[in-house]
Every structure is written in C-alpha cells, then in structure tokens.
Amino acid sequence: MTTQSFTTQRRAAWRSYREQLAKSTARTLSRRRLVSQIMIALTFVAALVAVLPLTLITWHLLRQGASSINRDFFLHMPKPTGDAGGGMANAIVGTGVLVLIASVVGLPVGIFAGLYLAEQRGARLATGVRFLSDVLNGLPSIVLGIFAWGLLVRPFKHFSALAGGMALAAMMIPLVTRTTEEMIRLVPVSMREAALALGYTKWRTSLGIVLRTAMPGIVTGVLLAVARIAGETAPLIFTAFGNNFWSVSPFKPIAALPMQIYYYATSPYDDWHAQAWAGALVLLGLVLVISVAARFATRSRAGLGSD
C-alpha cells in the first residue's frame, strides 16, 4: 500500500517535471530562434554596409568621371588653364614609372626577406625583422615620404621620380615580405625533404623547389601590393612632386595619377574638376584590374595539391 502510493507520487512528480521541462524547452527554443534570426539580420546589414562605400564610390565616379574619359584623356598632356580638353597622359605614364621603380627595388628585397624569415623562422634576428616589418607596414605613408625626402631629395636639392619610387618601395617591402613568408610556410616540409634527399643543396632547395612552389601565392601578394601603392598620394607629395610636362626620367620630378587628381580637385576650375573625376575613375579601374589579376593568380594555386 505504502509502496504503491510512493510509486504513484514519484510518477506524478516525474510527469510534472517532464511537462515543465517541455514547456521551458519550447520557450527557450523559440527564444533562441528569435535571437538567431536577429543576429543573422544584423550580420547581413553589416555585410551590406561593408560593401556600400565601394558601390557608392563606383557609381559616383562613373557618373561624374565617365563623361570626361575619352581618347584624349589617355593620350594628351594637360592643357594650360582656360584651354579646353587635354588629358593626363603624363600622370598615367608617371604612375607606371613610379610603380616600376618601386617594384624593381622592392620586389627582390621583399621576396628574399620573406624567404629568409620563412627559412630561419626561429632565429632571433628573424623575429626582430618580422616585428619591424610589421611596424613598417603600419607606418603612415606620409612618414615614408619624409624619409625618402631626407634621403634622396634634400641631398640632391631637387625632387625626382627615383625618390618617389623609393618611398613607394619602402611601403611595398613589408607587404611583400610578409606575404612571401606566409606563402613559403604553406609549402609542406616534406617537399623540402624530398629535394634534400635527392641531393639538392640547401639554397637550391629554397630557390628551386620551395620558392617556386610558393610562387603563385607570392604573385598574388605582389599584385595586391602594387595595387596598394599605385594609389598612394602622401609619399609622393615631396618626393616625386608632380610635373605638368612630359617626363619619364627617374632623376626629374614626375607626375602621378593620385597627385594630379589632388591638384585638379583642389583647383577652382570646373573642367579640371571633371578631369580629376576621370582620373579617379581611371585609378579605380587600374586597381580593380590588378586585383582581378591577383584573383586569377590565386586560383591557379589550386594546383598545389592537397597537402
């Protein structure tokens, strides 16, 4: 009798516990669903806001600049104030010269520094170099401009494309160094060992096998670095200085697209404003093309193999 009532009691308690649990589970479940939906909506809005500036900029540039882009813009020199027409041929070529100088100086240094960091990863010097290159990466670009001015402008008493190129190279080096290091680290140790076991010397393994295997990734990093420096203005203001005339000499001041945009945009003339818009559009297109090229270089990395 007592046992029976005890069992009945236990069963009743168990049933009520189950019911409560079910109720509260249903409650928490619906609450969790709600929270989840809110979070998804928030992240979606954040993602939208993140791409909004680019779409707005592109749309704005197209509206303002597209009308001024024609053959003359690419092939002609700037006209004196008041004269209609003219183009930015010198600035487009100037940017090309500057990027070329920066690449010639910055790429070998950056790639070999990255190789060093990856191969000697534990060395104290490597740790120091890695830290300093991160610092250099975060340095405001105007500071790099001042550095190049002090080193290459003041002693020679005149501005030059070389000084501008060096300032851009100083920006490029840490970018290239770090991507090179990361890409080389992705090359499996087994690849290195296979080469050594075949009788490859250490340097031959590094250059012929490891660096070569990492190359597609490095190319991507290099292209992104180029895209980054092509649009820089600050380091050029007191190094390359700008030039209203045709010049490709590395020892003379040279025009550059970003600087030309700045001068034209701050001028009081309407037709110069239009040209500045067009220049900005061209610069955007340039960076876009380089980024897309980098994308394709990355895609061919898929051939690297599973491990």
Partner: protein
Amino acid sequence: MDGLDAYFGAARVVRDVSFKVQSGQVTAIIGPSGCGKSTLLRCLNRMHETVPGARVEGEVRFQGKDIYGPSVSAIGVRRHIGMVFQRPTPFPTMSIRDNVSAGLKILPRSERPSRRETEEMVERALRRTALWDEVHDRLGANATALSGGQQQRLCVARALATSPTILLLDEPTASLDPISTQRIEELVYELRAEVTIIIVTHNMQQAARISDRTAFMLSGELVEYAPTNVLFTTPRDPRTDAYVTGRFG
C-alpha cells in the same frame, strides 16, 4: 653501421644500433610506432641532421667510408643513397618528366647527362616503376594530376633516375590503398637485383612478403636482426617473438 646514436635535442632516439646490410637484398626494419626506425633510416643518408637540433653519433660505413667522415658531403651521400617518404612528394611546379629528371639536372656539369641521355634515363626510370605505360603520352602534364599511388611510384622513379646504390623507403605504402601498395611491393621485389633496398614498415606482413632480412627495433634499440624467415618463425629474443606473433602492445 656501427654503434649509431641519434638525438633530437637531448632525447636519444636511436641507441647504439649496429648492423650490416647485405648489398643486393631487401632489408626491412620493423617495430612499433616511435621506436626510432624512421630516424635510423634517416641517419643512413644524412637526412636526420636536417631537422633543427638533431644530431648523430657513431659511424655509418658505405663502400668502406664513414658517411659522417670529415671530408664527406651530405649532398654527395644523398645522391648515392636515395630516399622515398611516407607520403608522395612530387614537386607540384614540375611536369612528370621534370620530376623524374629533377635529380639529374642538379648534378655537377661534368656528370650531368645530355638532353638525350636524360630523356632515356627518364624513360628507363618510369619503365622500372611500371609507370611508363600509364604516363608516356602525358609526360608534360603536371605531376599532381596523378593518383596517390602513381605519385608514389613517380617518387620512386625520381629516386631511381640518378642510379643510387641504396634506396631507402620510409613506410612508402602508409598512405596508399591496397592495390597501390601491392604495386609498390612488386616494385621493391623486382628492384632488389639492381639496388639495395632498406624499407621501414610497421606492416609485418609486408616485411615478411618482400624482405630478405629483417631488423626488429624497440624503443631505439635493435632487438634482433636476422634473415626474414628466421626472424618471423624462430626468433631468438622473446620480445621479437611477442611482437611478430601479435602478443605485444
């Protein structure tokens, strides 16, 4: 080799191992994981020292000379003692042809074969590894396009192209399926006439199938070294007996 010790930093991984490998035979090294068999193998072509902090003591005599002797270069040793690893390691930037000839192209100018000779050596190496029929029409294709088993045979071909005296195989079938494993085993069996093979495996059946002599290692020590049929049927050491009969670990 004689009184060989190998270290990783302060840890002694191989302890006072001495044994003699018969040329023209297949020697298998068996033992549980972590017993030092791979390390021992890597001491034989001076690959052990490429790991930071690793060092080797003792002697390894190859053709009468200690390969750790003062006038011997590691590069030269590795050219005569080839090695194939656990996982296939084709060079992904190279074609099938270039992978096989990779070891030939880096020889000093006086020893480097001409283009025609290289071409012949590539074909011979691919034929010996039974790859020729599968790849002869796409030698220019990327090596990563091959299957895992083909890649591993490509690695064997690459090691063979330089005509090494000894071939070291470090668990060459560990990452392969049974059919590919069988092909590698057949390959080892056929190659024994031309090249001395030392193979590390933790598959005892494999050792029993393909080797002439077997060495059993346990925690860095060489427990027993005997002709394969003797080691597997009438081992002298009780630990070997326990291991080969599966009563161990």
